[in-house]
């Protein structure tokens, strides 16, 4: 303590060159903090202008003409003009100083990433809200045009980082459709096993963060714990906990390790037992019910009109599950139920995700019983490289391997879109091919991106605390929203 104060005194009484340095530093700090410094106000304004990102705010309601207001309401509430232009709902006489514009985010723990929501509040009631996105946009679709098809899955797996297998799956299915390649049954069933386990881990993380958002903090610990068990199995199979790059065009990267069946059965037994515990812990709890029931209700018409999919759409009573409606992989050979809600509120969305974990466990058990033997990737030489031991003994195999990894495989011209049911809704991949080894255009239909449009109608008239619960039950993954 005394030593440091001595040092401080020493520097303050230092040499002339020290003092000059210190004053230069202080000048810089002053300017950065906007205090009056060398250069004065002009410099401050210049610095602020350069770093100012521009106003992204709700427009001033009082000064707008009627058609402008109509458009603006439509844009903010994401409802058709006929529905949004109900002036009985909007109190035009509210002076703007009685409402408050509040920014939630972009870095708020309950926004599940870098989601920014602008809310207009009257007291604690949300009048309007608007999600502002793009903070995590990294141009992955543009990157996808630069990468060859066998590199593409390592790009797309990073989009929805909580369900990476689904990104890889939809990409691989689309490429296979363009190629016209048949995938062996074992690869299909391995994909199905991994996707259902991924659905469990994704919904477990959702249970955890939803618990944290609405005050059931102990669920946060339990949810992360259960997810970790699934991720340990993923690490055993793929080598990585997330962003696996395991499902690739033509099959999967490797066969399942020895003892996988015991691991999966143990995981299913444990998870289903613990799901009963969490049922006891959460479902009957009056506080949780109070926080979720009749909060953020959405009608079926609104959900369909907004293009929502997944648990959000099913909570309104529309039983749309692509695993059943447009069976891909081998979902038409396994037995499972589509969980559907009735009211469309947060409670229904909670119950749907909760019970979908149980259905996924059911599918995993069936996969364990019926996993076929055989190849784990297609034997089409155009897509699959020769095995490692062939490279050691055959020059042709070495050349073939080299060409496949330097030039890639060519995909016939055409366009294809293949959707899958991700934990968040319909995730699809649209690829336009020009006959080269790189996609001409790669578009990922992100479920979170479309589902986020449901926030303003759900949050309208809710309390600010309910908005947190609503964002939580939409379950957006911002990597998927922004891509």
């Amino acid at each position: 303590m005394t030593k440091s104060s001595e040092e401080l005194e020493h520097t303050s009484e230092g040499t002339a060159s020290d003092r000059a340095l210190a004053s230069r530093r202080h000048g810089l700090i002053d300017r950065v903090l906007g205090r009056s410094g060398p250069g004065g106000e002009a410099v401050n304004r210049l610095l602020q202008d350069r770093t100012y990102e521009g106003s992204q705010e709700l427009a001033d309601r009082g000064r707008q003409s009627r058609p402008q207001l109509q458009r603006e309401l439509g844009s903010v509430l994401r409802l058709p003009e006929g529905a949004s232009a109900d002036f009985a709902d909007v109190d035009l006489e509210v002076p703007t100083d009685e409402t408050m514009i509040l920014n939630l985010g972009p870095s708020h723990p309950s926004t599940h990433g870098v989601l920014r929501i602008m809310v207009e509040l009257e007291g604690e009631t949300v009048l309007r809200s608007k999600p502002v996105i793009g903070y995590l946009h990294t141009g992955m679709e543009k990157t996808g045009e630069e990468l060859m098809y066998h590199q593409g899955s390592t790009n797309v797996t990073r989009m929805d980082y909580l369900s990476p297998f689904f990104n890889e799956l939809t990409f691989s299915l689309t490429v296979e459709k363009l190629l016209g390649v048949e995938v062996p049954p074992r690869a299909t069933w391995i994909r199905m096993l991994l996707c259902e386990l991924n659905r469990i881990s994704s919904h477990m993380l959702w249970l955890a963060t939803n618990g944290a958002d609405i005050g059931a903090i102990n669920m946060l610990v339990y949810g992360w714990r259960e997810r970790e068990v699934v991720l340990q199995f993923f690490e055993k199979v793929t080598g990585l906990r997330m962003n696996h790059n395991f499902i690739r065009p033509g099959g999967v990267a490797a066969d399942l390790p020895d003892g996988w069946r015991d691991d999966v059965i143990a995981l299913c037994d444990m998870t289903s037992r613990r799901m009963d515990e969490y049922d006891d812990l959460l479902t009957g709890q009056p506080i949780l019910q109070g926080r979720l029931q009749n909060v953020g209700p959405l009608t079926a018409d609104e959900a369909v009109s907004l293009g929502l999919t997944g648990p959000l759409l099913r909570s309104t009573g529309i039983p749309r599950d692509l695993r059943r409606d447009e069976p891909y992989l081998a979902y038409d050979e396994v037995d499972f139920d589509v969980i559907v809600g009735e009211v469309g509120d947060c409670w229904d969305r909670f119950a749907i995700r909760f019970n979908e974990i149980r259905e996924s466990i059911r599918i995993c058990r069936q996969v364990c019983d019926r996993m076929p033997s055989g190849d784990f990737r297609t034997q089409d030489k155009k897509v699959t490289p020769p095995p490692r031991n062939r490279i050691d003994e055959s020059m042709e195999a070495l050349i073939h391997h080299f060409k496949l990894y330097t030039e890639g495989f060519r995909v016939p011209p055409g366009e294809a879109y293949v959707p899958v049911e991700t934990p968040r809704g319909e995730g699809g991949c649209y690829i336009v091919s020009d006959g080269t080894s790189r996609p001409y255009r790669l578009h990922m239909r992100a479920a979170s991106f479309a589902n986020l449009q449901g926030l303003p109608p759900m949050a309208r008239g809710a309390l600010i605390a309910d908005t947190i619960a609503i964002v939580s039950t939409i379950d957006p993954v911002l990597g998927d929203v922004d891509r």
Binding site: Y52, R78, G139, G435
Partner: protein, 187 residues
């Protein structure tokens, strides 16, 4: 719409072997949907249209019961060697691709609309499906295709003052200076 026949995965071989030299207009038309040709694309049903018939076609499809708006995106065909289109649809630089789903009988339909490159705009679908809002903003942001009548035609993923539209094929890649300036207009 009386589209009872299953879509056939037939076009793959012709399109696949032809490569870059596949002549446009070689695609067989399966059916006529509201005055626009429907073709088969690897087992999917795709309706081709141009800007003049775009909104009327989508309005007709909305009336046919395609109630779920799955997605909308754009494609820039500037450097594409040539694509197979049905007769009566001339190729343009941009395409707007719309994916629809009918809940009643679980059918899927894709619409591809040709948009000229010199003045890229199409009418908005916000009046038919409110869910088109974010997808159209994203397509505007990435391709610069304007959606006339859209309630909030602004950028959604890129910063508001960004210059250029990144997913266009003539957008330079490799080195892009990071730019943050004051926004010229208030949203």
């Amino acid at each position: 719409m009386s589209d009872a026949d299953q879509a056939r995965p037939a076009a793959h071989d012709e399109a696949g072997e032809g490569g870059a030299t596949a002549p446009p207009g070689a695609v067989a038309v399966l059916e006529d949907v509201h005055g626009c040709p429907m073709v088969d694309s690897l087992g999917s049903r795709v309706v081709h249209t141009d800007r003049a018939r775009y909104h009327a076609l989508l309005e007709g499809l909305r009336g046919d019961g395609y109630d779920l708006f799955v997605g909308l995106t754009g494609v820039d065909y500037l450097t594409h060697p040539g694509r197979a289109l049905p007769a009566g649809v001339g190729p343009e630089r941009f395409e707007v691709v719309v994916e629809l789903w009918r809940i009643r009988d679980r059918r899927r339909l894709r619409v591809r609309c040709q948009v000229p490159g010199d003045d890229p705009w199409v009418p908005t679908l916000f009046d038919l499906w409110a869910g088109a809002e974010a997808h159209e903003r994203e397509t505007y942001d990435m391709f610069g295709i304007r959606f006339e009548g859209h309630p909030d035609p602004s950028r959604i993923l890129m910063p508001e003052d960004w210059e250029g539209h990144p997913l266009r094929k003539d957008y330079p890649t490799g080195h892009v200076p990071v730019q943050f300036k004051e926004s010229p207009d208030r949203r």
